[in-house]
Point group: C3
Chain length 446, copies 3
């Protein structure tokens, strides 16, 4: 459990902030975004991006319907104003105004009267969780439907119903948010989250909000790598971005997809398809060294947009950070994934773990020992104890010796930390000390 | 245990046959071959090949005595008509007519009288199994001897004996059977079995008969690979074939030596010297996925003709499939390795396992995903569920996604199955579906 | 435990000697060297080398103060004649004449009177072991000090003390001993031990003495490799040798640092930085096949002169053989590391393990099977049993078959032994037999 007053210092930032501040900030953004009816296209998605723009100056990209993106075509834009089912007394028994989830996402417009029998073909419920409304979509097959609780469904009488959906499915745009923070290098870290789900908090508002605050704090720095943040519709969004930005893909050296980061579950890191990429090692190190249980799982070609980033033609070093993975908690894709299901302290903890990963990535450099033949004389530089001969002396200098011994251009600081069985910070401190004394160098000595 | 009515469909074959049919067919061939006195050369070996010719049109190759084959020389041909030991009353107490095993294989002709003391130097028994006759050979050292049960040996009286062996050891031929089935590719699968043992059922009639029926059914197909079947005398046979066919050796991409396949023991696969050749992976997969215990053992330079195929100068990808390995069952190389020791259902099961290995080998292709950058849109091709958003949807499409993700020219279907934790058949079905939709290709896309 | 009467035959040596002889010889050399006050420079070091010269004709190298050796400078030479602390009654309460350890090694000359308070800043004790005198040095920071037992320290009265140290710290030489035994090849094995500690037996007289006797017996042979023995001051000695002999470094193919080899602890082998160098495999094989528990530990950049040999710019295949490692036993660097702490039988056992490692290294050759295509016919050469067919025959010939199968230029005899699960000696005997029959060759056949 996180100490609420723990202060957090982001790498290279002058800013400090307290955990409780960041916890509240993230939760409040989720609260703002929760009521919006998002989909893979449409006004809800753009409204979401505009709210995020209150935090960071992201650019809103618009891609016209019909644009070919690899094997796919950008779909028509979907918008919805109103939708309900009225019973024979004219009472709205299911009303989109009460929950975005009541409408099957991408439902076509309809206005008709039908029997209970006919209506049932368009109703979706969860028999196992009879009070919850399921979340359903039909992006690529034109149909319509309503979702409702199973209890309500069981009470439906055999009468005539009026169904009304005031939606539109027309040529328009696929929108996505992009925010680029230039770093010392053009090599990029990609932070991607899907932002196409309506009122669902863990899947995906947690990722959206944490990415926003990571971006906000990073933008106050000049990090080692450049950072690219994407808030995109799932699947079609990453495919669209990759198709329209193929020339930029080679710059992406590391990446994280963020999702399901607000629940109380343990952390799960799903490795990139590469499996032993630097981001994989960094994420595993951070999670294993936290005080909580965690799971490091191998890549599999199901999940979020890492499916596209890790398709064989790209094979990017992009992993996925979650707490409870999609599909493993009953609230997943139901009305129970609400503002109670995610909690500020879990969101803050996720933010911090993500931050720790970026911190290590930022500092995980490879050096060369300038005195590679024999040890340099540390004593004359004041690094080493002056008086030898007593047996606990190595405790103070082992990190120094490990960095010197393994700084041969083949071991990153994290590699050295893992090999030495020491923490990254201890090894980094040793490396910083050696850099100060001109004993390490970034470029291979001639 | 095998279901006797299970129908077997060999790959690419129109024919179906039932397990009980194949079980009886294999066992009957063994019954026909059992009485023949085989050796590494001679009429018994040729007679064996001629019986196999009733099933498949194998060619009988004749290599003259004295032919140099690498470090060896094809030996004189051995034949035998009659052999016995008579006691002082003129009674035949040991008679070759009763068992081929009574004579030490390759015994030179002899006709003489000798004392019990002198005779004993030429007698071989098994004290531990006093009712069994051991099997002994002396191919490369000219001598003679008789094998008999230890009980009979103990009853021998101190009297004069007459020994008669009407054998011949003269220039002639080493014979072997060869059968080649051309496939789509000149790359070959080698199936080799030794056929030089006299009345011993598990070691080697089981291998001889199973190879025959594998060949028979395969010959009705046009398999992907070409197949070369060899029925050869152990050691000198494989050496002779390799020496006389060196130019063909490079075509052999996979191979199996078959032996000891009729007893009730668990399966044993001995890996090729390479250790991780495709045949090694295929055999391990098939045995591990069968319902029986099995053993996968590393190569060792003792055993059957895999010793020659896996000699360092060839290092072919040839493993050895057995049930109980040679030397691990007491009946091995004794008269107890008889028609009761091997049973039809075990022979059929061995045939099926072998068949499964060849089936997977035949279908274990490597593909390229034609849409390697991002996933193809499966929905528009009807491969994917149309309505998203519910959590068990991945169950139906994981195999499709694994094949797409790993078809990068580096993963065979079996590799994908192992990585995905799915069965080969499920992965193959997914690949076939994707081929049908023109989403996979065999050649690397330009 | 070692059998005292076990006879030892060193490789290629005609000499045989008994374990009890070697045990006594090693212990006696330690006894001779024990009283000398050694340091990293000075007369004590040279006197030590001269005593070793009574056993082997090592050369004594002299390197002048001020010589630059990589990042270091050869220090001034330190010598000491007399040192004591007198109390106010003029009684010598601490006297260098009683123990070399009483003086902080490299103490500068001093003669003054001071209060107890002032004196205490220059006194070193071990509170945990109040009867032992600690060993302290101050090579690179000019100061002075005395070491004494904690019990004596507690009895010191608050009075005036007279301190006298008749030492000199002046330009002179760093000395080291070097002994080179030419072998069949210019490729070298390095045996290195530090010889700079005063009256401490396990750390370092055990290594000094064992290296001496290894060299003595090796000098009576013409080994396969050339051998270079170094008796050097720790750290500065190996740095000096490496700096002044850089052109010879490439000849060093294998090496062992010897230290702490006389106590009753289990053996510890610390691997080279390479980790899987031949010496690492050989040492692990020897220790694992001894009857005692042992520890094989990974390289770490703390310890003895392997730190320098394994610095990244050299990265030599040099490991370190110890019994109880430095710093793990309380007697380490105290007056309790005395002539009782090391025992003849442990020294002899260490000598034998070291000898076994060098024996295997000497004989761990890589051969080529001259008949790499199929097995050669062993029978006609009398190597193989003549009569086949009985099941235990493989026991006698498996080693022969393994050597033939794996002698492909990629497997050393130790590799073959490990792969076959057989002892090195059995495999070597098989290889020797095959060499006798002209079936193996050292050079790759054309």
């Amino acid at each position: 459990m996180l100490n609420n007053n723990q202060s957090v210092i982001d790498y290279k930032m002058q800013t400090t902030f307290t955990t409780s501040d960041i916890a509240e900030d993230i939760y409040q953004l989720i609260t703002k975004l929760y009521p919006i009816c998002r989909s893979i296209t449409g006004n809800g998605f753009r409204e979401t991006l505009k709210i995020i723009q209150q935090y960071i100056p992201l650019s809103i990209q618009q891609v016209p319907t019909g644009t070919e993106v690899f094997d796919w075509i950008v779909p028509k834009e979907w918008n919805i104003k109103e939708a309900y089912i009225k019973n024979s007394q004219g009472k709205k028994i299911v009303d989109f105004a009460n929950s975005n989830l009541h409408i099957v996402n991408y439902s076509i417009p309809v206005h008709q009267k039908l029997s209970l029998q006919e209506l049932k073909a368009h109703l979706f419920t969860l028999a196992d969780y009879p009070n919850w409304i399921p979340y359903r979509t039909s992006y690529y097959q034109e149909t319509w439907g309503f979702c409702l609780s199973h209890n309500q469904y069981l009470e439906l009488k055999d009468e005539e119903y009026e169904v009304f959906i005031d939606s539109s499915l027309e040529p328009g745009h696929l929108s996505y948010g992009e925010y680029y923070i230039p770093g010392d290098s053009t090599d990029e870290v990609l932070i991607s989250c899907h932002a196409c789900h309506p009122s669902l908090c863990n899947d995906n508002l947690s990722g959206i909000a944490i990415a926003t605050f990571i971006a906000k704090y990073l933008s106050q720095t000049t990090p080692r790598y450049s950072y690219r943040f994407l808030w995109i519709p799932g699947t079609i969004g990453s495919i669209t971005w990759l198709a329209l930005n193929e020339t930029k893909v080679n710059n992406i050296k590391h990446g994280l997809v963020l999702s399901c980061l607000g629940d109380s579950g343990n952390f799960t890191y799903k490795k990139s398809r590469i499996g032993d990429a630097e981001i994989d090692k960094v994420a595993a190190y951070v999670l294993r060294n936290s005080k909580r249980n965690c799971e490091i799982i191998d890549f599999l070609p199901y999940g979020y947009d890492e499916r596209q980033y890790c398709s064989p033609g790209f094979n990017l070093a992009v992993g996925c950070l979650m707490r409870s993975p999609h599909g493993t908690f009953p609230e997943y894709h139901t009305s129970a994934d609400d503002l109670n299901f995610v909690q500020p302290q879990y969101l803050a903890e996720s933010f911090l773990q993500c931050n720790s990963m970026l911190y290590i990535l930022n500092n995980n450099k490879i050096y060369y020992n300038k005195n590679s033949k024999c040890e340099p004389q540390l004593g004359k530089r004041g690094i080493y104890r002056a008086a030898g001969g007593h047996k606990d002396s190595e405790l103070n200098e082992m990190a120094i010796l490990w960095v010197l011994n393994l700084s041969d251009g083949h071991h990153s600081l994290l590699d050295i930390a893992e090999r030495a069985g020491m923490s990254f910070d201890v090894i980094k401190y040793a490396a910083d000390t050696l850099l100060t004394h001109d004993l390490l160098i970034s470029e291979k000595p001639k």
